[in-house]
Symmetry: C2
Subunit: 165 residues, 2 copies
């Protein structure tokens, strides 16, 4: 027994770490969706843009794998981003089956705004903690994520997110 009778509410569902993570995670995801809505983006689209900023010229298959989503889903996302002029599809000269997806100048601008929004979002979420506590929390969460085998930057919920306003 790790928890004495007095404070064994540690593993109770409404007070345990697991439930709090699920609760806070859903809240953080919803809040982020709210923040990127004014940019006309959904969280999955934001993930696509960010990934393209890191690794330009990827194929759609590569993007889909990196983001953990299915190919048909990605097609629709790219379609919308391309229609709005944020990304372009260029044929890969070596292998014309592949499309090389890249950011346009406008896409880079949106990505910059996205970075700003993400920064604000982060600050809003950790507003209750001072710098020391934030570092502490970051260390603990990263340890959990690693133990659970989660890939950095890949959000399991990229598959289901609401539309922009």
């Amino acid at each position: 027994m790790t928890s004495p009778p007095g404070d064994n509410q540690d593993d109770r569902r409404d007070g345990g770490v697991a439930f709090l993570l699920a609760q806070l995670g859903a809240h953080a995801a919803a809040a982020f969706a709210e923040r990127v809505r004014p940019l006309g983006l959904t969280p999955p689209q934001a993930g696509v843009l960010r990934r393209l900023g890191e690794v330009p010229g990827q194929s759609q298959r590569g993007l889909a794998d990196a983001l953990g989503m299915h190919a048909p889903r990605l097609v629709a996302l790219i379609d919308e981003l391309e229609d709005r002029g944020l990304v372009v599809r260029d044929r890969d000269i070596d292998d014309r089956r592949n499309y090389a997806i890249s950011l346009t100048d406008e896409g880079r601008g949106t990505l910059a705004e996205l970075a700003r929004v993400a920064r604000e979002h982060e600050l809003a979420i950790v507003a209750a903690l001072d710098d020391d506590d934030r570092s502490q929390l970051l260390v603990l969460l990263r340890r959990l994520a690693e133990e659970q085998g989660l890939t950095p930057g890949v959000h399991p919920g990229f598959r289901r997110m609401g539309r922009p306003g």
Copy 2:
């Protein structure tokens, strides 16, 4: 730029607290759904049972409010739980509009299994941490949840969860 020096990657999307919370939260929710599936329950149904264990004889409206879900959604959940003999609908004698929902003996048995599963789930999630770190994490997460105005025990994602196997 790849990874600038120092620790300003704290607010980068793939490493910040906000993203880690969303990532871990989605993972924890999915893992919990997986664990309750053998019991033939979805997470929302598990929430209903747990709530009924705490406050028996509630009306459906009371339950819906307490769990943060819409009435029509709750009707379907109760229907299934009642068909399986886990809960019963009794008319409120004072106000016959209300149905008083209670657990059956079998429902109490399922609730006990549910508690066991939840305990295992909690331990699996925090497996990477020792007791001190768990307490520390719990304190930090509770502070975040309070700051964000989250109601203890109410999961924002109770509205969308998969079916049992």
